[in-house]
Symmetry: D2
Subunit: 492 residues, 4 copies
């Protein structure tokens, strides 16, 4: 295996939400507007929930050529400065927000996308949402053939594969490159004159097409179309490549067709509630999950409280279905950011307390149903339970808007190792005892499928979604991980 790359700087990881799965990326691109980079900045701001660590923009101007900026931190703190935005002229731009590197080292600016490469026929930039499951093998092969990698990012493989393609045009070279790549990817790319979007054959990660004035937009989610006033046109189809220039949108299907397997967790947690996926409102899907959950796992109680903010729509649905009043039992501090120095040992559970506070007067003497989107390590769930009991609740019932998360994701989501997932080693009852709550129930996998609109639930012989994190059934073999020792679920 190649040696680790040197790194340049250190960076503080955001302390909030440390017990959630993290979407690793959001991508956005625009062509045919004045000052495209400003649109991209707005789009990335609307996609910030998909990656908070860093963001980057590459743009092209007929006179000023390619320009780029990559920064750690929030879009709003970097890509709002006029002095910076003025260095990013032109009618064509793409951008990327990301959560983290694949490795465990400190993040480095070189790993921040979009990546750029000069080819004999001109430059191109690409931004990638997803994960390449054969990246280690590809990287090793490319290095042996003389490629110099500049980042630790798996996505850089794509640009090197493009550089070595014998095709004459950049879109053709991208097809060549992506045919060598396994895994999940939604790619937004650009040349001097074209905006390009591609989704992997399974369509694991989202990508939508929009229109703004005379220009075109590609975005991970529809909420980023709204912010720039763009009209939603359609999803880029699984396995489709769209190539957009002044003449409009050309569609190609360079891969062997497969049955789509969209990531079901996008519905549960990753996407914003105001986005629309597959004609469905994400908010409505989550409310339906709450309804299903109330049907599957009813319990007598005085109030239904969301764990803010991600549990809110499911809690509203649960309250609606059960008739138990909805209430804000936990208040989120809007100003949360970096970690505080712990003042003394007198103060426990500070991490959660900085972000969440219990509405003590409301909770006291109540039987409380807490609705959360998922349980990953279980550390936050335990702290929340303690805060609720400390405030005088009589009973605490957890209702979880997803099935037990028992398997890591290898398709562009940051998950702990399998042994750190609470559901990998415990049954539902064991988790209840571990968390010391009065009851704990997860929605069933079938219930979840019903909530996303599959009336007859999951088709076990050929699931309609990628649900590997719940089922352990990986639609693309995680070959690098297997090489490193990961064991697939034993055939039943």
């Amino acid at each position: 295996m190649p040696p680790a790359h040197p790194f340049d700087s250190s960076y503080l990881r955001d302390a909030a939400d440390e017990d959630k799965l993290k979407e690793e990326c959001g991508v956005f691109g625009v062509i045919g507007v004045t000052d495209a980079a400003n649109f991209v900045a707005l789009g990335l701001h609307a996609l910030q929930h998909r990656g908070q660590e860093a963001g980057g923009i590459v743009c092209h101007h007929p006179e000023h050529g390619f320009n780029s900026a990559r920064r750690f931190g929030y879009v709003r703190d970097n890509f709002t400065k006029q002095s910076l935005m003025e260095t990013l002229p032109g009618p064509l731009a793409i951008g990327h927000v990301r959560y983290s590197t694949s490795g465990g080292k400190a993040p480095v600016i070189r790993d921040v996308q979009p990546f750029f490469g000069e080819f004999a026929m001109g430059g191109a930039a690409i931004a990638h949402n997803g994960n390449i499951t054969n990246a280690d093998a590809l990287r090793k092969e490319l290095i042996e053939r003389g490629s110099i990698f500049q980042s630790n990012s798996d996505s850089e493989c794509i640009i090197h594969l493009m550089a070595r393609s014998l095709q004459r045009t950049i879109p053709e070279r991208m097809e060549d490159a992506l045919r060598r790549v396994e895994g999940a990817f939604s790619v937004v790319a650009m040349t001097r004159t074209k905006l390009i979007g591609v989704r992997d054959p399974l369509g694991v990660r989202p990508l939508v097409l929009g229109q703004v004035a005379d220009g075109w937009v590609l975005s991970s989610e529809t909420c980023a179309l709204d912010i720039i006033g763009a009209k939603y046109v359609r999803e880029v189809a699984p396995g489709e490549m769209v190539v957009i220039n002044g003449n409009g949108v050309e569609s190609h299907f360079p891969f062997r067709p497969q049955k789509p397997r969209f990531c079901i967790f996008e519905h549960v947690y990753f996407s914003r509630p105001d986005s629309i996926i597959g004609q469905r409102s994400v908010y409505e899907t989550r409310r339906q999950i709450g309804i299903e959950l109330a049907r599957e796992a009813p319990v007598e109680a005085d109030i239904v409280c969301p764990v803010p903010d991600s549990g809110t729509p499911a809690a509203i649905g649960f309250s609606h279905e059960s008739g138990i009043p909805y209430a804000m039992g936990i208040i989120r501090n809007q100003y949360m950011g970096r970690t505080f120095i712990e003042p003394t040992e007198q103060i426990r559970n500070m991490g959660v307390r900085l972000k969440l506070n219990v509405n003590r007067a409301l909770i006291k003497d109540k039987r409380v149903i807490l609705v959360d989107d998922s349980v990953v390590r279980g550390t936050t769930s335990r702290k929340i339970k303690e805060m609720i009991l400390d405030a005088g609740a009589k009973e605490v019932h957890f209702r979880i808007a997803s099935p037990p998360t028992a398997w890591p994701c290898f398709y562009g989501v940051d998950t702990p190792k399998r042994e750190k997932l609470l559901a990998a080693t415990m049954s539902e009852d064991e988790m209840r005892d571990h968390l010391q709550v009065d009851s704990l129930r997860f929605i069933s996998l079938d219930g979840l499928y019903r909530a996303v609109g599959e009336a007859s639930g999951r088709d076990a012989s050929c699931p309609q979604y990628c649900d590997a994190c719940f089922s352990g059934e990986y639609p693309v073999k995680p070959s690098d991980q297997i090489e490193k020792g990961f064991e697939l679920k034993a055939a039943e």
Copy 2:
């Protein structure tokens, strides 16, 4: 009038919530703990909603004396750096967050509290929440007598009055000084050995007392006690001065007693919903406002949506009382911060869109009740209405959780000039037409009083609260403002 003071730097005002009244300050102090400044940092973080522009901490250590730090920006971004916090040692510290200067000039670090003064008997620092209504007159008098002001802040008068007092102790000098001061004030102060808290005789602004381990805490709100795990003891009473040292809490009442007039807007908007004021949960009060509003101003509709986040509890109450389902029709972007550069004129209403997005799929073809906490200029209400209609709503009904805001506040809240207040120049019906909504109703003043627990409503002869912003009845004469031309409400 004295000349304006020179300023040092420029600063970008936060664009979010530009159409709300702003609490100008939060105060916090601790004595008797290790590294008190860390506790103050946490407390100020929990009080950040009371002032986002700047924060300051002064502390005292027996060996290292007084130390201080003042910074623009959020507490989380400044007072979390170990290198800074290490310069703030000792068991006694006070802090302050603030929204803005009284003047219109760019903010300067010299205006950031706490203020510090050396007296013949030692140093003292004070942090002030409120506003001194005779500050201009006091300042003029003090300058004529040879005081040198270092800030543009009215609060600096207090420290100069203390410096000129002939009393022998700092608490006595503070009494002397505060007896000269008119207006609303909750003060947290410290000497080398004492933590001091004072509320004005009307008790307009809040101040509570708590206990943490062997130490004592003073805070604007109880939510800041929770974050450090402190126990709520009681409110500091209107007109009370508490002086706390190693021997415990001494109570004084240096002012002529008056009937209290607590700010009713703290219940409506300023305080955090998880705080407790006068034994009442703020969240519950707001939910009650929603219930009252549903009784006073019912309307047929499909969903009740809060304008996030401040309208949420009242919307829950409205839904509960009316039976109309509660729903999240508007989604707030959690990553909002400074303003973006407007990309082009194609994009209108960007200010609101950066912060809020409509849940289009939910809103379409619905009759929507929007519950908001208040209407100030009306600019944001209008934009929200447009976004809702643009998403396809059939009807839009505004329900406002406070009476019409028709008068400016002179007691520590940032309000526009009277002529900018929509309710100062329009009736409820005129406002409805102006906003072009299907209906617009405010809670009545009596309804609001009922919601805060006054079963028989407002006692017009002797109101139980300060409600000047609604009624125009100012419990303390705003003498500086009258000097500048402000006209009181004509006697009826």
Copy 3:
């Protein structure tokens, strides 16, 4: 004694020249030009050798009023940014560079001059070069009478004394204030319409008057007139106050006349060699010192080398008089700045080596005369000697261009405590042995007086200069220091 003031930030002291006396301040002011602050920035840059720690500018514009900026660090790094300079408009400005605070605490921005005060008749700003020898007593008195000090700087007394004066105009109040002040001061001040300069009755610190286009300039040294192309007019006389407005320069003499005692060390080290003091070129005076030194203390050797850069003119003079060739035996690194981390203990004497390197090939096997301007603690001299011997010199002879520095300065120069001055505890021979050099000779006090143009040397009964650092004869009683235990030289 009053308690120390809280401080705000930490700052790294410049490591270079740590074994020199330091001038504490330079002052500069301009009236009657467009964008006066730009002129002041240039002037302060030319005076940077008088104070490297921090700089400040206050200016006034008829419309924009007073504005100011204070910054730590070099003028070139702060006052060259257009974004900052644009906040400093107007035809009238003053500025200040300083070396350090009087106390030992970390420097704070509040201590950076000019100081500003609002008086009943308008604002005024002052910048002060020198030291007030009765500042502690004044400060104590002012605090007892109710003044609030905002800095640790003695110079702040002046503004408080002005605030308490009963005079009607600011210049009159300044006269009032300065009559209460003892010590050495050259003050540059401004009101909204006037530029004011004052020197103490002894004229210890320099101040010159210049003309640029239609405007007037006040500056510590003439080299700062050159940089803005100003014409040198004359020195402000000892005890004189000049008040400059649109009508020209008015001259006042508010103090009781005394025989002048200009600081002789300005000739030796503080002033720049290209400045002119009392009609004499500083460079030429220093060259004359070298000539006198060669006459007083000749020695056989191969080369005469300056300790760069301050020893250079005297070395040129020494070489000229002795006929021994002048050579650059020590090379100064032009890029010196903050301290480096010492890599390991293997490397000794790094502090000096970072700044100076021996020209080894030149020095080897030579008898070397090293000419330095002064010996303070002797620490640097010792390290230089070691470097020279290490490079293979056969003999090392130190020749010092000033008499032994045996007494601290209390008139605006940073000197170590008396016991740290090598010459306070050792004779010339003992110092030679201590430094382990082949010979060590200082110029005599009479020789120094001859070099500055007093043909018959020092008039012991009534010295023509302040030479307290050499003679221990203090022309103004250092009363604060005596209070703190400093012992004057016993009468002989």
Copy 4:
């Protein structure tokens, strides 16, 4: 030609010395010491005169692997921060300071060396002083074969050539790569275990070997050995590759031998006067140039003044030989840095005045000989002449310590285009008239050769040095430049 690369940030060019040739780089490496990066920081500080724009360090630690930092600005401002240096552990490190990019675009951090590459057998970093004259051709070829360039730097070719070599070890791959490269290069490189140094066959740029404690050092100049207390061992020979590990120094000669042609301008200006080149003190060589110049071009005058600081040794030599007194007629401001905003048009020649001031009292009524190291565009010479005359000099005679600079350098020095070089279009007399001085004389090429120790002057048939900037005789064909239209000197 490949498209321009996108750039990331803007940067202000240092204003000082804008009329000098600029060495583009300095290199430094250490192996076998604790915390090698600290040594490299010190070494780069001593080499700062060879490149002020940016610096970089790469290091390797057996546990922590490769780490790196690249920064714009001075070494002292970046590589002195403990927080940064702690991220650079290990016993092996190399570093680089550079003046500028080859292109005209804004500098970007990606162009800052050392460059790093992962190969199949491990990582390697290289730092390059010099210029590759066939870089454009190599880059084009490499891109066509699929290499992705990450910088605009010609030096990156080396790492890509190494990546494509079929050799088994990194030193062998480096030999392979450097055999493809034309031009001038002194390279310092490292693997995980080895420090490597190489000079091109002509030895145009310097590189020396030293020893410190148990470790070894490679440096552009000996002055950087002195700063870390290292012992000078020898020069790396032209065409030599040294490979250093725990077992000591191995020497290879991978290139076809050629007669060396060291850059003669290193003696004249680039190297520091306290460095030793080819057994000769640079200071002494420059003093000899002054002596030769006094013999070749004597003139009657009152004083000899250097243009500081580079003209100083030659002025000392000129004074010594001519008997005319040496004097500091021009004083350099030690605090020079970035450009100032020009205050108004009243002030001309500010660029020079910020850096240099005339010692007016000395110059007045004198006949002045000014000794400068070179004349490039002549712009500064003209301004200095004006300042000298403005101060009242009677006559101004320029004596230049190098022959007329008539040709650009293509071997790692930043020179203006040929048409901007004053000497390319004017004879010595024409230049004198152009500068309007009383006389102007350059040293002859033979005189310069004598001064560097070639007693019989230049061997025209086979010059002992590279003197292309004076003679137009380029020892390596500048093929990229010829491709772009540069015309070689016509054969005579």
